[in-house]
């Protein structure tokens, strides 16, 4: 019998060897390709990231841009080249391995050896015994692994997580990202313990906490520094509650800016702005800006002296294109907001900053350049220790850019953010209390939407508005009044859920509606002022027209209720004072002596008016 290997066997063996060596080589080359690809990608990616960071600092560096393009192209070319190599190599490797296996199996056939069973049947008992020991050992090892997991589980941070809502500690409430650039790095735990706890009610509280009753706007309770009656301050646009209702009495009904009659002081404001003054204690805050500068001012309410001014100019914004705003809106239309310990400001370019009363900047961030054809004008407001920002943008709801945000006043950390499917608007939200709960009322096109101010969750909405919504809502007599030119003046009962258009809209009125000026109500009447001089007064409960009065004046500023009188400033700086009644009755006029668009602030018998160039404090002399 011949012991020479079969020819087919030799051929198959040789093919297997060649295919095996070929496959090994291809595999090695693929591995090298993969390693090199990882290394080069990391290098180029790091270089690109560095250059992008440099470009953000120097956006006009043309040479840097060109270098970035070149490196980016190199990165992509390298990536696709190595990927092509990997793809072709994979096919070659697969082919080589398939050929190797086929040849090897073919060769193996010729090496098949008949079985030669040797010896007796082995005793299975020791084999089974060894098997039992091995299984037992495996069991012990897995028990050890589980025990290790048990130790790890106890040390994991998730072991400290609250199990029930009641167990959530205050420091973990809200949505608080870590500090951004320009913050003081205050931790949420510290912030929660030191932040001023604020609620808003309609009753004077002398700094003490009080549970507000239904139907009243929430109150402002302040803790240190000054012991002021929070309810009588003017902390946000149109005062406490945003309703344009002045507290206190004895406000002057006549003055003359040119002659100085009843002008306690008058101070120049360095930079222009359309924002209204906010007042807390003996501090009056304004913001000013032009194309290049943005500043915050604090004036002494007693003397008009500028206590401090702080710039807000070092915040980065991804969009470096020039900011275009309407002349009427300007670069700082949003009114500031204060909680008695902090004061926040927002500018048309999206810069948002917060200071303490000494002028120290606590935090600042850029919210992104607003996509707003007239320029961002929605004022800030405050709820408890949070800053509320209605940031509506875009030309249609489909742009999906609008949002309502709540930020921690002390740290700037976001507590919550709620998307709004609405285009840009210029209305300022208010917080009310109704039906045993607080509601954050917002206006937009076409919805008036109420949210829970604690978490931003939507409560109800009513489709009553349209167009470019600028007037802010007010709450009086248990009704929310919202208005915009070309749509409705609507009275809505709060406290609903979901779409309440058909169930909670008490009445609507459609004549001579304003497009800028916010309405005013004392619960009996609702007053609106059309930009070009028409005042309209309707019954608050029924919406029936009571009276209408034409003025030879333009109105940009919103009216204020002072007792049984209404103060309305026209664009030339003339204050029209008339009765808050069911018939028009003029009570007086007072001229500032310069144009004025901002809404005045009424605090403690003084009226603070921002004219085009100066800030005035008006009060009874002597």
């Amino acid at each position: 019998m011949s012991h020479e290997p079969h020819a087919w066997y030799l051929a198959a063996l040789r093919i297997a060897i060649i295919a095996g060596v070929f496959s090994a080589l291809v595999a090695a080359l693929l591995a090298a390709n993969g390693l090199r690809s990882l290394r080069v990608s990391a290098l180029l990616d790091g270089e690109i990231t560095t250059m992008k960071a440099e470009l953000r600092k120097t956006p006009d560096d043309a040479a840097l841009k060109e270098r970035l393009r070149q490196v980016d192209l190199q990165y992509r070319a390298e990536f696709f080249r190595r990927r092509a190599v990997a793809q072709y190599g994979a096919f070659l490797l697969l082919g080589g391995l398939a050929l190797f296996l086929l040849a090897a199996k073919f060769a193996k056939q010729y090496r098949f050896r008949a079985p030669r069973p040797e010896g007796e049947v082995p005793d299975q008992r020791p084999i089974a015994a060894r098997g039992r020991y091995a299984v037992a050992l495996a069991g012990v090892m897995f028990a050890g692994v589980l025990a290790g997991f048990a130790v790890v589980a106890r040390q994991e941070i998730s072991a400290e997580y609250p199990v029930t809502v009641a167990a959530v500690s205050p420091s973990l409430q809200g949505n608080n990202p870590p500090p951004d650039n320009g913050t003081t790095g205050q931790s949420p735990v510290n912030a929660a313990s030191t932040a001023v706890n604020l609620t808003l009610t309609g009753q004077p509280t002398n700094g003490t906490a009080q549970q507000p009753a239904d139907g009243q706007t929430p109150t402002l309770d302040g803790t240190p520094p000054p012991a002021v009656d929070a309810a009588k301050q003017w902390p946000v646009f149109r005062g406490v509650g945003g309703n344009g209702v002045a507290r206190g009495a004895d406000y002057p009904s006549s003055w003359d800016g040119a002659k100085g009659t009843n002008i306690l002081w008058k101070t120049g404001v360095p930079l222009p702005g359309e924002n209204s003054p906010v007042v807390w204690g003996d501090a009056v805050f304004l913001a000013g800006a032009d194309e290049h500068q943005r500043e915050v001012y604090c004036f002494d309410a007693n003397t008009g002296k500028l206590r401090w001014k702080q710039p807000v100019t070092d915040l980065s914004c991804a969009d470096k294109s020039p900011l275009e705003v309407m002349e009427d809106t300007g670069y700082t239309a949003p009114t500031m907001a204060t909680d008695g310990a902090h004061v926040a400001v927002m500018f048309a370019n999206g810069d948002l900053a917060c200071f303490d009363f000494t002028g120290k900047r606590l935090w600042a961030k850029n919210m992104g350049k607003p996509d707003n054809m007239y320029g961002h004008a929605t004022s800030l407001t405050v709820h408890k220790n949070r800053l509320i920002l209605q940031f509506d943008q875009g030309s249609s709801a489909e742009d999906d850019k609008s949002a309502l945000l709540a930020l921690d006043m002390a740290t700037g950390r976001q507590a919550w953010r709620t998307r709004r499917e609405l285009p840009a608007s210029w209305s300022t939200p208010i917080v009310i209390r109704a039906g045993g709960r607080e509601e954050l009322i917002t206006c937009g096109n076409p919805w008036v939407i109420a949210y829970n101010p604690e978490n931003g969750k939507e409560l109800w909405r009513a489709e009553v508005l349209g167009g470019d919504v600028a007037p802010s809502p007010v709450f009086a007599g248990g009704l929310v009044f919202a208005v915009n030119s070309g749509s409705n003046l609507a009275a809505i009962r709060p406290g609903g859920n979901g779409d309440v258009t058909k169930t909670h809209v008490a009445w609507t009125f459609t004549e001579d509606l304003p497009d800028i000026v916010s309405p005013l109500s004392n619960g009996e009447i609702v007053l609106t002022a059309y930009t070009y001089g028409t005042l309209t007064c309707v019954d608050a409960k029924t919406g029936k027209l009571l009276w209408s009065q034409d003025f030879d004046a333009d109105f940009k500023s919103s009216p204020t209720l002072v007792g049984d009188r209404i103060y309305l400033l026209d664009a030339k700086g003339v204050m029209h004072i008339f009765a808050a009644g069911r018939a028009y009755k003029e009570l007086g006029k007072a001229a500032l002596g310069e144009p004025a668009h901002a809404s005045p602030a009424f605090v403690d018998g003084r009226i603070y008016i921002r004219g085009k160039h100066n800030l005035y404090c008006i009060g009874k002399k002597g």
Partner: protein
């Protein structure tokens, strides 16, 4: 008038396309004459192809049963394995797969809002139903994972029995862990660590590629290492295959006790005859069995307790728990900066307490799941010990119906296979 109508209809045609063509992110204005290509979206796979996959699987199972039990053709099974590699492996890229479908089933149990697709349900059930008739025909030549291992096996080495018993516990543990992670919506472990997916998709992370290469390399000398020591679906097949209507028999007719098939199975699936037991040994065996039976509930309880305590450690695999951990660390200043995930969370506006409460709830799910997994491991270890303590009387070499992969390799070792019926009797 006709022209006006034509213009009207043209506008009706053009305007919608202009609206649809409006780009959400307008391209930059290129300074060269480069024109941006239109974005194209691949069409979804036709639904009828899914039903074709089910039909092919059913046909392949039937053919595997026929080839392994009726024709007893090793070559036929090899060809079927090659087809499975090509169709279920490279063409379908290893998905859907009965092995991974366990997780889909577990997820549908754990999360009622998840709807189990018909294709996945069919892929899960068909091999199990086939096992009730023809044993592990799925493993014989249909499973692409098994087929790949079968094809690369060149020089099988015998795995020591004690090691085989110890490693035999792994598929059960893998099954339990995979179901726990799937039911809690954390991860599809079987798919994530499929050692052959990078082969069939011809790409993968360095880790997966390494696992594939390693598994195939081991598979050249160790018969079907994944099938025997890891495959969780094999656990289910092991339970059903002994109930099969028709089973693999090494001898086509009667075993003539020639012992030629003793070492024919590269997968250790042949049970050998046993020796007679002496009375003393029998008593000792009974005592041992009684001890293991008493130990069974203890192992169950101990495993359950350890699993309950340790289960929460596994919860970190869940995306919500990972996110909560990161947000918590950032909130407490224990890490610097943010990650993409934490930034996305902050932008989403969800309150932290909601996230932490959700993570707590998932942790509790893992506590319960860990208890079940631990008890399961205890049960498996205990039953393994019990089965190893049970003495069985066998006189012939038999294919273990639970472990036999119906590959047909043992057939040619049997002289009865090569002799026509009756010839051996005449010779004898």
């Amino acid at each position: 008038m006709k022209r006006l109508h034509a213009l009207y209809y043209w506008l009706l045609l053009i305007l919608p396309s202009l609206v649809l063509g409006e780009e959400r992110f307008p391209p930059p204005e290129f300074e060269t004459d480069y024109s941006q290509p239109l974005a194209q979206h691949p069409a979804a796979r036709a639904e009828w192809l899914s039903y074709l996959d089910i039909a092919v699987l059913a046909a392949a199972l039937a053919l595997a049963g026929y080839l392994s039990l009726r024709r007893r053709s090793r070559r036929g099974l090899f060809a079927l394995a090659a087809f499975s590699i090509a169709y279920f492996g490279f063409f379908r890229q290893g998905c859907a797969c009965p092995v991974g479908s366990i997780q889909n089933v577990a997820l549908s149990v754990g999360r009622p809002e998840y709807a189990l697709p018909i294709v996945v349900a069919a892929f899960f059930l068909l091999p199990l139903v086939a096992a009730l008739f023809v044993g592990r025909a799925f493993c014989a030549g249909v499973c692409p994972l098994g087929a790949a291992q079968d094809v690369v096996l060149l020089k099988p080495l015998k795995v020591p029995a004690w090691l085989e018993h110890a490693l035999g516990v792994l598929p059960y543990i893998y099954l339990g862990a995979a179901m726990l992670f799937a039911a809690t919506g954390s991860a599809f472990l079987i798919c994530q660590y499929d050692p052959f997916i990078s082969l069939y998709r011809m790409s993968g992370t360095p880790l997966l590629l390494g696992i594939t290469a390693g598994m195939l390399a081991i598979g050249t000398v160790v018969g079907r290492p994944y099938c025997r020591f890891l495959c969780p679906y094999g656990v289910l097949l092991r339970w059903l295959a002994p109930l099969a209507r028709w089973r693999v028999s090494i001898a086509p007719r009667e075993c003539v006790q020639c012992h030629l098939c003793k070492d024919s199975c590269p997968f250790g699936a042949i049970r050998t005859p046993t020796l007679a037991e002496n009375p003393g040994g029998r008593r000792e065996g009974k005592s041992r069995l009684a001890l293991y039976l008493l130990l069974l509930p203890v192992l169950l309880a101990a495993g359950g307790a350890l699993g309950y305590l340790g289960g929460a450690a596994l919860s970190g695999q869940h995306a919500t728990v990972r996110q909560a951990n990161r947000v918590w660390l950032e909130a407490h200043g224990k890490v610097e900066g943010t990650t993409l995930e934490s930034e996305a969370f902050y932008r989403h506006g969800q309150p932290q307490e909601d996230l932490l409460l959700a993570a707590s709830a998932i942790r509790r799910q893992f506590n319960l799941g860990g208890l079940l997994l631990g008890a399961w491991i205890g049960l498996v270890i205990g039953l393994k010990l019990v089965f190893l303590a049970i003495r069985r009387r066998r006189t012939d070499y038999q294919a273990d119906p639970a472990a036999c992969l119906a590959c047909g390799r043992c057939y040619r070792f049997c002289p009865e296979e090569h002799a026509p019926a009756g010839v051996l009797e005449k010779i004898g």
